[in-house]
Amino acid sequence: MVENDEVDRALETDAAALRGRTRRGLPPLSATERMARGAAPRPAVRTAWRPRAVVTVGALAAVLLLVIGAVASERFRRLLIPTRGRSAADIQSDIRGGLAGEGFESPRVSVERTPGSLSIDVTAGDSSGLSLETAHRIVGGDNVDSTFILQLPDFRDLDHLPLPERRRAIERRLAERGIRATVTIDDGKLRIDADERRIEREK
């Protein structure tokens, strides 16, 4: 009961404060009249984008983006491997682990870092007998100290096409991925030159 009395006293004092606060500064009837006559309508207080609402919407958007990002990265099966400031051994270990996670057994990976360039060679073989042999060769340029994006699988599904058609199909697919590339047939091999990137694939 003592507790109830104290709560009631707090409510009373707060009620007195609220009364006083809401009684002072009341706009006069003339202000209502001006509004009523449309001479000076008081702009409505727009409360929709107060900070808390922005934070709530922002948090929801961030979660949504994370989900979409996770789904998209899985869908495109890309290995995102940071290279900035990392040693060749670390990068090599990451690529090998990533390939193993994608189901490639015993991938051969070689990484060389020299001042101003980063060279990565990857050969991933499939023990199930599929004719998979993919080699990515990244040389210098934009890839130095950036994120190396290894895109898998490569062009396995195009193996049945005759060489000229396969060349055009590979060009088209690279273009879809935002890589401007030139594909040439060179000494029985497909050679793909994409800016500073050179991707060779055995015929």
């Binding site: 507790e3 109830n4 104290e6 709560v7 009631d8 006293r9 707090a10 409510l11 009373e12 004092t13 707060d14 009620a15 007195a16 404060a17 609220l18 009364r19 006083g20 606060r21 809401t22 009684r23 002072r24 500064g25 009341l26 706009p27 009837l29 209502t32 009249e33 509004m35 009523a36 006559r37 008081r42 409505a44 207080v45 409360t47 929709a48 107060r50 900070p51 808390r52 609402a53 709530t56 919407v57």
Partner: protein, 195 residues
Amino acid sequence: VTDDPRHDWQFLLELLEPIHDAARASARRMAASCPDGDDLFQEAVVRALRKLPGLRDRGRFGAWFYAVMLSVHRSRARRAFWKRLIGLETVMDSGLEPVAPGRSADEETMRAGRLTAALAKLPAVQREAIVLHDLDGYPMDDVAAMQGVTTSAVKTRVSRGRARLREHYRRLGVVGLASRAADAADTVPGEVMNG
């Protein structure tokens, strides 16, 4: 009520004059802040003008206008939840005159904000009953006419609203601080919150 809108405004303002300040203060107490309460009041005035032809007895204008205002209040209470996420601290101080000499503006802000936040947690009909009866001092019968329900329904709303407010204050840990503060603040005697 005439066919000329300008005459309707004049008629409405004449009726509104005696209750203007009390109704505007009530609107502020029901709303989340004073500016929000002023918006509620003005929206009620605009709606009252539209409904003015339905006013049968000008002697009962007060209860009729309050009924319109409570209807607007409930409409606003139902609007999208994120429109109600208003930082009280950002709007409590705007548009107000300084407090009377001898009183602490900070303490009044804290106390008024605390009760406003507690009232905001009540269902709209309970908040209206508490504000009109406990804070504004209207008799239960008048509140019943404003809310369009029976007197016993108002009693129930007031009783439940008070119980919720007490529970909210207990959770805030107000007990123990109240006795010290009661000496410092000028309380208004009467039936406020004692029912």
